[in-house]
Symmetry: C2
Subunit: 143 residues, 2 copies
């Protein structure tokens, strides 16, 4: 059985952002103790910004002020079809009470800890790609 | 309706590695052009090492020789229950023909491009956590 070949296709930034906003979980990538660090978190897309909530002890608080990457994807483990979107931009803490309250209403916490900090990433670079349907060939290769 | 509170629990390294090896896709985290970078890739766990295949033009080839992080997770977008495992270690290219052939048989390529490079990450730090069942409270909060 053969279907269309699988292909990697770059997505327009607007489409990429829309996809990122369509899922609740992603991964923030930053530097901690001079090492690459990554944490899965919940996000919400608000006016083109990626907004996260984190608790007081979270390692990713060290990312505030850094240029970070944020990735979300939806890739089928079987067929490998799906998409991945990466935004890169500075991570800032949101401190204005009204703004914090606004974002807190939109965000659902990932873990049951007091979520005391709201972090906002303003995308400067948006990269997205789509993996179209995988052929049966890939399965044959590992069969 | 209330179920058990959701909790973040650290996993023993051996359990964490086993979980990482149980899924085919993860994300390599490295530095590219002095910026944090992340790419979803296929992996296989061989003798405690994380092994990836990538094609000649892949951005992550720049990660070779770097200390990188590799993350895999399985988190339910609805309940947020699941796990995340992060290994940190040096990324090396596997060049021995026999070793390359061995790993190539185990790995299923992510995209339909010639996979010319095999990258191996030897974990020096293994971090894993588990998110146990989320209460209904979280849903109420955003309802």
């Amino acid at each position: 059985m053969h279907s269309d070949p699988k292909r990697l296709r770059e997505l327009p930034p607007a489409t990429a952002l829309r996809l990122l906003g369509s899922v609740p979980i992603g991964r923030i990538v930053f530097t901690a103790h001079a090492l690459p660090a990554i944490r899965p978190v919940n996000h919400v897309l608000v006016d083109g910004d990626v907004v996260l909530r984190c608790h007081a002890g979270a390692a990713l608080l060290g990312a505030i002020g850094q240029v970070v990457a944020y990735e979300a994807d939806d890739i089928d483990p079987e067929t490998h079809a799906g998409w991945s979107v990466i935004v890169t931009g500075k991570a800032d803490e949101v401190t204005g009470a009204d703004e914090v309250a606004h974002y807190e209403r939109l965000l659902r916490p990932h873990v049951d800890l007091t979520m005391e900090h709201v972090v906002r990433i303003s995308p400067e670079i948006i990269t997205g790609f789509e993996l179209t349907d995988v052929t049966q060939d890939a399965k044959d290769l590992i069969a």
